[in-house]
Amino acid sequence: MKFIVAKGLSVVLTLFGVSLLAFFLIRLAPGDPVLLMMGERGADPKLYAALQAKLGLDGSLIKQYFSFLAHALQGDLGHSIVSNQPVTSELLARWPATFELGIFSVCIAICIGIPLGILAAINQNSLLDRCLMAIALGGYSMPVFWWGLVMILFFSIGLDLTPVSGRLGVIYDIEPVTGFMLIDTLLPQSYQDYGSQAFLDALHHLVLPAFVMATVPLAVFARMTRSSMLEVLSEDYIRTARAKGLSEFRIIIVHALRNALVPVISIGGVMFVSIAVSGAILTETIFGLPGVGSYIVNSVYARDYPVIQGSILMIGIFVLCTNLFIDQLNQWVSQRKSE
């Protein structure tokens, strides 16, 4: 409990810093956002002042910051310059697409990466180990934006197996309820109209982007599992287990893996979040998915500063909360270990 409070305080302090960064970084941008909105021909001073007040851009910088913070705490991140919609609702509308992609690629990365790492560790220094680790390093060095193009070239254009972009074929008209396409297509109303076809089509659209996004984390998981597993396998209690005559399978899966996964969860988890957000930005841009990543990139093109500011804050919160959760998970796992 004490741990949570101390950690929580530290997170709040860091969050405060992230809000400062989000606020003042955007203020460094050249140009006046109010003039930008009013057009290039110059503005009526009265209208100018009114708009300035409406955007919360009047008064001193410090006053502006606290008004930004007060609004942000109430979930109000301002309005987009481009669409004039609240930034919060725009971000929340795009969140599920990114989350769906992220969850799917975590599963791929864990389900393939960790077994590969174990396999390499068991056969240490063999040809298999070397090949696996060379491939893993290749995956780790992969430029996601190029890998996505190569995959599209191979699977979508060459073999015609998967769609090139988007979340769902145009023939399906699905009402967004949760925003998660895989869930929405299974909801009773949509299911009545299209049966399982829409769901399969959504899955079909998701596989390739998720795999592309999973490539780098997969390699990270494989490398970390291998080194962590090697460390554990050289410990005394594994030798004891061998001496007891336990089967090799039982030793590795039951005794070694549980302890080997602790550092993989803590370091790999934290790394994953950061890699995944970077990956999401590039993957969504390549595959034309309407998620948070492509939204940020488009806002950067349009110089939509309120959106950029809001996105930094929101992603900062997300990353910090995930890290806190991973810390907690780890605490729990290692506590169980010591009991």
Binding site: G17, P143, W146, V297, V300
Partner: protein, 284 residues
């Protein structure tokens, strides 16, 4: 003679690392000496638009083909290597010097200075690197110089973290305690005593950082936030190639392959150096 044998032995024991080192060497040679050795025209347009590479069609006079404006891909790739390597090196050197200085100050001085630096570092690290780089470019405007600045900022925190951790350990050792008893100032201890013992992690991090810098610059170029159009840069070339991906796939494959192989080579070298220099790994 003896030297020759040891290089051969090294090559036999570390096949991949030797290939990586050779690749980096050839790339540097091409990038910096290439323009003097052969005629390269990365910005000259010709009439042969979207020409396939020679090994696909014998009629082509361009080894690696031409792009949609008839520019020679080979020349553009070599100039791209030049900009990628130069920018990567510059970014890493600047980030390394700033990161090392701040890391040493945090590690040696400790106390509230340490806490402030660590806190600021945590804030920067809580934002994923690509996002932070994109935002910095969004604020400052596109272009290669600004992209370079953005990637430098993104790169600093990791150097601070590593150097601070090493400095913290070194400060506890006897030679530093001895230096204190001589009455040396903290400033002198920081630069003359602790810094020389940080060189191993500095080299490892710099090599690994180089691959990340090249990757990040290319990613920004791909998103259209780095190098501006006529500039021959790998990421920007890749983004131009996207619209011709069905008609001229080689346009998209080659710049990406260059990025991939370069990043992979620096990662291989970095991994090797870490195994060689990191005492924790050596014990294993």
């Amino acid at each position: 003679m003896k030297q020759g044998i040891s290089i051969l032995q090294f090559g036999r024991n570390n096949v991949l690392v030797s290939i990586a080192i050779s690749f980096i060497f050839v790339l540097m040679l091409l990038a910096y000496a290439g323009p003097f050795m052969m005629s390269l025209a990365p910005y000259e347009t010709s009439k042969s638009l979207l020409n396939s590479p020679t090994f696909f069609s014998k009629h082509s006079s361009f080894h690696l083909g031409t792009d949609d404006l008839g520019r020679d891909i080979q020349s553009r790739l070599i100039y791209g290597a030049r900009s990628s390597l130069s920018i990567g090196l510059a970014v890493v050197l600047i980030a390394l010097s700033i990161g090392t200085t701040l890391g040493l100050i945090a590690g040696v001085y400790g106390g509230w200075v340490d806490r402030v630096i660590v806190r600021c570092n945590d804030i920067l690290m809580s934002l994923p690197s690509t996002l932070l780089a994109i935002v910095v470019v969004a604020v400052m405007g596109g272009g290669l110089t600004n992209a370079m600045f953005a990637v430098t900022i993104v790169m600093i925190p990791r150097f601070i973290r590593v150097i601070r951790a090493v400095a913290k350990q070194e400060v506890k050792k006897q030679y530093v305690q001895a230096a204190y008893t001589f009455g040396y100032s903290k400033f002198r201890i920081m630069w003359c005593e602790v810094l020389p013992n940080c060189w191993a992690p500095m080299i490892v991090q710099a090599t690994l950082g180089l691959s990340d810098a090249i990757l990040d610059i290319a990613a920004l170029g791909f998103l259209g936030l780095g190098a501006k159009p006529p500039t021959a840069e790998w990421g920007a070339m890749l983004s131009d190639a996207r619209q011709f991906i069905e008609t001229a796939p080689y346009l998209a494959i080659m710049p990406g392959l260059c990025i991939f192989l370069t990043v992979l080579s620096f990662n291989l070298l970095g991994d090797y150096l870490r195994d060689l220099l990191d005492p924790k790994m050596k014990r294993k």
